[in-house]
Amino acid sequence: MKHVKIYTIISFVITLLLIVLLTAMVFGLPTFLEWYYTEYGLRDVPRAVKRITVPFYFCAPAGYIILGLLAKLLDNVRKDSIFTMQNVTLFRIISVCALYVGVICICFGWGYIPLTAISFAALFIALLLQVLICLLATACRIAEENSLTI
């Protein structure tokens, strides 16, 4: 049980770091991309920057929601309230956000390999989460039955 607590704390710290990283990217991505493309002597900098920043800013709110909900989930794990319908709902929202990211990346990145790869990854995560939601919902039902067996 001790190692679960340690993993939970490590995951929570990583989630917080990702929130900080996402915030840094929200404020600094266009500048970074302009520097990067200029440094490597690529032409048509504004178009390349636009191709990445526009879908990024569309996906950033979903990223904040996912990271916030992950922090909430880890907090629930820390409090030992794991098999609850609240966690199922949190997973469902995360899955919808991943689906949204996948769709946005497909729409904006059609024919652009990095964005297409990200969209497939996001859609795969959304699918994986749907399976996990089914498992967790069943586990919740069993846990409730167990706790109501006298």
Binding site: E144, E145, L148, T149, I150
Partner: protein, 73 residues
């Protein structure tokens, strides 16, 4: 809809025993016994049923019945 009803309150009244005392004798918490008494339980272990029958000096059929959920008792 017909369902299993736990008549623990009736038997407790007949034997004039309180919830706390019965919980102590049976060896389960008051909270769990209350869940059982208020028909909120999803299942009952044979060991619990056995202990209840022993302490209340009754048969399982005295504690459990199969009837309409909102029928008057």
């Amino acid at each position: 809809m017909k369902t299993i009803i736990v008549n623990l309150d009736i038997m407790m009244a007949r034997r004039r025993i309180s919830l706390g005392e019965l919980a102590n004798r049976v060896g389960i918490t008051q909270a769990n016994l209350s869940i059982l008494k208020n028909n909120k339980a999803k299942a009952i272990r044979f060991s619990t049923l056995e202990a209840l029958c022993r302490e209340l000096d009754c048969q399982p059929a005295d504690l459990l019945s199969y009837e309409e959920e909102d029928s008057p008792r």
